[in-house]
Amino acid sequence: MSLVVRKYVPQIIISAIIVATVAFYYLYISKEVAGAFSTADKALSDWAVIITSFALIVGGIDILRFHVLRIKREGLAQAPFSTVTIALLITMVVFGVIGWYYSYADPKAGITITTQPQFRWLYTNVYAPSDAAVYSILVFYIASASYRAFRVRNPMALLLLITAVIIMFGNTTIGGLIWPGFLSLRDWIMTVPNTAAFRPITIGAGLGTIVLGLRLLTWREVSWMGRRE
C-alpha cells in the first residue's frame, strides 16, 4: 500500500496528465470537446502556477533556514552577510503584503503587491541594478573565455578562430574600414553555416525531449522522485 501511494500514484498522475494534454492537443473530436479541452488546459496551467507559488514560498523558508543555519555554524564571519539576506527577504515580503492589503482595503489607490512604493524602491534601486550587473559581468567573462577558447590547438580550433575573427570584424565599424567585405561575409556565416549548424542540434534536442517524455510516460525515469523505492 505504502509503495502504491508513494511511487505509483505520482507516476500515474504524470502519465495521465501527459497523455491527456498531448492527445487532446492533436485530436479534434468536436467543437465542444475542443472547447472543453482549452478550458481544462487553461485551468491546468493555473494549477501549475498555484503549485509553483507554494513551492516558491517553501523555497523562501528554505533560504531563511539555510542562512540561520549558516549563522549558527560559521558564526561572526558569516553572520553580517546572512543577516542582510534574511532582513531584506523579510522586508520585501512585508512590503509586498502591505501592498496586497491595500489592494483590497483601498482599491482606488492602485497599489498592488508589486507596485507598493517601498517595494518598488527596493526593486528599482537594489534588485534591478544587481540583476543587470550580474548579466553584464558576462562581458568580462566572454573576453577571458575567448582568450582561452580561441587558442589554435588543432585544425578545428583554427576554423573556429577564423570564423570568430570574421564575425568580430563584421560586427564593428573598424572591420568595415579594413575591408568592406567583412560585413557581407559575416552575414553569410550567420545565415548559412550558422543556421545549418544549429539545425541538427535543434532536431536532436526535440528528439531527446520526446524520448524523455516517453520514459516519464512509461515510468522509467524516476530521478525526479528522488529516492528510489
Binding site: Y25, Y26, L27, Y28, I29, A34, S45, A48, V49, I51, T52, A55, V58, G59, D62, I63, R65, F66, L69, R70, R73, S130, D131, V134, Y135, I137, L138, Y141, I142, S144, A145, R148, A149, L160, F198, I201, T202, I203, G204, A205, G206, L207, G208, T209, I210, V211, L212, G213, L214, R215, L217, T218, R220, E221, S223, W224, M225, G226, R227, R228
Partner: protein, 294 residues
C-alpha cells in the same frame, strides 16, 4: 522469435491509429486539430512507439551498444580527481519553474545529479548541489541522500551543506552559484540542465579556481559556451542520453535508440524532399499539411 505482448500491443495501436487516420481522411472527417501539421503528430507517435518497442526488447535481453559519450565517462574522473585534491564537487541544473517546456531538460539534469551523487558516495566526495528550481528542492535532497546512503556513507550527508536552494531569479541564482564555486574552491564543476545567459558565468567561475568542468545543455544558444570553455561537454540531445546512461538501467538506455530512429526519419525526409524537388514535387507542403477540410 516470439514478439512480446507489449510490442504487439504498441505496434497494433500504431497500425490502428494509422488505419483510422486513413479512413477518416478518405471520408473527409475532421479527426485532428488544426493546431499542428499532421506530420508532427505522426512523427511523435512513431517515436513513442519505437522507443517503447526498444525498451521492451531490452527487457527481454537484447542489448544495444551505445557509442561512447566522453563527457559522461569524464564525470567519474572529475569526481575522483577532486577527492584526491580534497576539494568538493559542485553541480547545478538551472533555475525556473519545472512546469515550463524546459521540464525534460531539468529531468535530464536530475538524472545526471543522481549519477554524480552516487559517485560522490562511492568516492566519499563532498557534494554541493545548488539549484534554482523551487519544486524539486526536496527531490534534490532525496537524490543526494540516496547517493550517500546507498554507498554506505550516511555520515557525509548534511542537507544544509549539500543542497542549496538559492532563488529562482536568474541572476541572483547565478551570482550565488559563482560565489559558491569560488568560495568553496570546488574541484569539479558539473552543470547539466537548461541554461540561459548564466552558462558562461558558471564556466568562468569554475575556471577561476581551476575546476574540472563538465557541462551540457540542449538550449542551442548556450551550447557554444559550454563546448568552447568546458573540459567536456554534452551537446544538445546528449544530455538526455546522459540521463539515460546515468540510470544504469539497460531498458531505459534502450529508449535512446528511438532518438536515432528520429534522426534517420529526418535525414530520409530531407534527402527525399530534395530529390522530389527535382521532379517538381514539394514534400514541404505535405509535411506542413494540416488536417483541415473545407
Amino acid at each position: 522469435m516470439k514478439a512480446p505482448k507489449g510490442v504487439v500491443i504498441a505496434i497494433a495501436l500504431l497500425v490502428v491509429i494509422l488505419v483510422i487516420s486513413v479512413v477518416t481522411w478518405s471520408l473527409r472527417v475532421q479527426l485532428y486539430s488544426t493546431r499542428a501539421p499532421f506530420s508532427a503528430f505522426l512523427i511523435l507517435l512513431i517515436l513513442l512507439v519505437a522507443g517503447y518497442v526498444f525498451m521492451e526488447q531490452a527487457r527481454l535481453g537484447r542489448s544495444f551498444p551505445v557509442r561512447k559519450i566522453p563527457a559522461f565517462d569524464a564525470i567519474e574522473e572529475a569526481i575522483a580527481r577532486s577527492v584526491e585534491m580534497g576539494r568538493p564537487v559542485h553541480t547545478t541544473f538551472g533555475f525556473g519553474s519545472i512546469s515550463s517546456s524546459m521540464a525534460p531538460q531539468y529531468v535530464a539534469g536530475l538524472g545526471v545529479l543522481a549519477h554524480v551523487a552516487r559517485l560522490c558516495g562511492k568516492y566519499g566526495a563532498k557534494l554541493i548541489a545548488t539549484l534554482g528550481v523551487p519544486e524539486v528542492i526536496a527531490t534534490t535532497e532525496e537524490i543526494v541522500r540516496e547517493g550517500y546512503y546507498s554507498a554506505g556513507r550516511p555520515e557525509l550527508f548534511d542537507p544544509a551543506y549539500n543542497v542549496r536552494y538559492l532563488t529562482d531569479q536568474q541572476f541572483a541564482y547565478a551570482s550565488a552559484v559563482q560565489a559558491t564555486i569560488v568560495r568553496e574552491n570546488v574541484g569539479a564543476n558539473i552543470v547539466v540542465g537548461p541554461f540561459y545567459a548564466e552558462s558562461l558565468i558558471f564556466m568562468e567561475a569554475g575556471n577561476m579556481v581551476g575546476a574540472f568542468q563538465i557541462a551540457g545543455t540542449a538550449r542551442e544558444t548556450q551550447i557554444p559556451f559550454f563546448v568552447l570553455v568546458a573540459d567536456y561537454s554534452f551537446i544538445g540531445e546528449e544530455i538526455f542520453a546522459a540521463g539515460a546512461l546515468a540510470s544504469g538501467d539497460k531498458e531505459t538506455l534502450a529508449s535512446i535508440r528511438a532518438q536515432d530512429i528520429g534522426k534517420f526519419i529526418s535525414i530520409i525526409l530531407i534527402v527525399l524532399g530534395v530529390i522530389m524537388l527535382l521532379g517538381g514535387f514539394k514534400l514541404v507542403d505535405s509535411l506542413n499539411w494540416v488536417w483541415k477540410f473545407g
